[in-house]
Amino acid sequence: MNLFRRLFARLEIDERLLGMLISLVVIWIGFHIASDGKFITPRNLYNLGNQTASVAVMAIGMVMVIIVRHIDLSVGSMLGVTAMVMGVVQATLLPPLLGYGHPAIWIITVLAGILCGALLGGLNGYIIGYLGVPSFVVTLGGLLIWRGCAWWVTYGQTVAPLDQTFTLLGGGVYGTLRETGSWIAAGIAIAIIVWAAQRQRRQRIRFGFPIRPVWAEAVVVGTTCLFVLAFAATMIAYEMPEVAARRLAEEMGWAIPEAGLHLAEGIAIPVLIVVVLAVAGSILLNNMRFGRYVFAMGGNPEAANLAGIDIRRMTFWVFVLMGALCGIAAVIASARLQSAGNSIGTNDELKTIAAVVIGGASLAGGSGTIIGAIIGAVVIQSLQSGMSLLGFDASLQNIVTGLVLVVAVYVDMLYQRRRGV
């Protein structure tokens, strides 16, 4: 044990993160065995990624909200109303103006969704930051208000079908990078990982600070890159269903070979969106002033204030960001379902908060990571899809998910206490 600990210290690996990853793998293996080998398959993992995406996107914003000692209970409802607005924009408003299937429709719709989310978030942020109403109350109100508004947008009618290009953003069968795109994305990711490690190393050398040994650097960077490649390979290993592949070939005018059509799915677009947002969010949170202030406000709001940080403005912007991310989550959720109904995103606030808390954030504020929150979201979705796969009914799924949430936080607390933090 001590040897491992020294090794981790040398590698500068976050033990907590590693613990979460190990728990996730244990859950996966457990379901894999219980389902006779149906869980850890390219197909199931592909679907898992798509199902996790919208909650994962919201978890990125929720981490920041929770770090600054607030909470947002309205995200599921904001997702709902935003999805309805986007449904109307792309299915009712734009087609008569631009023509059905116009390529600009999805872009305008997505922008409208992000704007709508940011406005709702901004309203939360204004009331919480400037008027000083507790976030729990404001967003509890929002939970009810926006769900009601989601109904009013169309008087309860489900909007379908959605724009064809728009639905690609939800993944599904066609919304992927396919084989070549996936390898290119993996290549870019690896280039960025190597560049970032190199940059950090050079920075430390510049001032003559201690650096980690080259072998340790190589192990960490190498493992991360291998993980990226393994992920891409797994997604590419998922073959597009025959019917879907045939339809795509017809549409594109490809000749269908004798041996049958074998097309790879590759990395799904929602997963790509999550990765890009997670990286951008992590840079914002860990490497920029904004994030530094977020942590400072969570650690000691008075100190942050005395340091000249405008707490009210920061609170406002954190909620704007949360809202904008709800808009993006609404894009993914409605695109995946290929329709916008007024109950979309119901209970997502609970999943999102649970994901963030499982990911190691403290509700007392001041701590939390985006990568942890995303792993938390994957854990929750894994439990739910795993149990569905095993035929557990919904009530049992809720019981197990709830238990896991409480136990996970308790174990993390024990660990933190033993480390004396």
Partner: protein
């Protein structure tokens, strides 16, 4: 010593707070108080709890707004509306609570609100760590926990981080609120030495303390507050501790010092 102060006072004071009043709800925490500070001088600010010392001084550091009165710096009016304004006048404050974000490390706390950034807005962590290492080397050579959250540091280490913050940014006016209250004897002695050194370097220092011994030891002048009012300001060498105690308790100037 007295000559030096006389010479300094020929120039305009570094800080003049004129007729400052601050109210919270119906309570006048600070009522028409004036105080000044010259370069290379330590002014002790004493009084009972709730006498208004911290409130008065927080007006100077930008944490509170005065309802009335004005602040002059270098003989010019200096409107201070926020902590940022105060910092722009090179006013640094070491609060009694230290005002550290416990979850952040020493480097992050030192630069809180004034982070160094590279082009593109990325924090220049390495440069900040370098500066932190340099200033800590001067203040507390044994300090090594640059990457640990300050919550795990000892009282003295936390204090040195808070002081480092003021020293690094070239304070001209330093406000120290109970700087030794939470420290052991050895650590307190270190802070005393530092205060003398900074005074020699020409800083003006407001020292708020309950400890009359400290105040007599370090201050050139002593201002006494009671119930939000300024009782008066005396030269340390002209008075005894009993005189000052009398001012604190009775709220009256001792006859010998009344000339000031």
């Amino acid at each position: 010593m007295s000559d030096q102060v006389q010479v300094n006072q020929a120039k305009p004071p570094l800080v003049e707070m004129r007729h400052i009043s601050v109210s919270f709800g119906g309570i006048r925490a600070v009522d028409d108080c004036s105080i000044d500070l010259y370069p290379g001088e330590v002014v002790g600010l004493v009084g009972h709890n709730a006498a208004g010392k911290s409130t008065l001084i927080k007006v100077l550091s930008g944490a509170y707004h005065a309802d009335a009165g004005e602040i002059w710096i270098d003989g010019k009016p200096a409107p201070i509306h926020s902590a940022r304004d105060a910092r722009n006048y090179n006013i640094e404050t070491i609060y009694q609570t230290l005002a550290l974000a416990d979850n952040l490390d020493a480097c992050a706390n030192l630069f809180l609100g004034r982070e160094l950034v590279q082009t593109g807005g990325l924090l220049d962590e390495a440069a900040m760590e370098d500066a932190t290492r340099k200033v800590m080397k001067r203040l507390n050579p044994n300090f090594v926990k640059f990457h640990a959250p300050v919550s795990v540091l000892s009282g003295g280490q936390r204090q040195s981080v808070a002081i480092a913050r003021a020293v690094h940014f070239n304070a001209r006016i330093l406000i120290m609120d109970e700087p030794t209250a939470a420290l052991g004897v050895q650590e307190a002695r270190g802070v005393h030495e530092l205060i003398r050194q900074l005074r020699r370097e020409g800083l003006g220092i407001f020292l708020i303390s309950h400890d009359l011994h400290d105040v007599f030891d370090l201050s050139d002048r002593i201002s006494v507050m009671k119930n939000g009012k300024m009782v008066g300001t005396v030269h340390t060498k002209d008075v005894t501790k009993d005189d000052v105690l009398g001012m604190i308790i009775l709220g009256k100037l001792p006859p010998a010092a009344a000339r000031q």
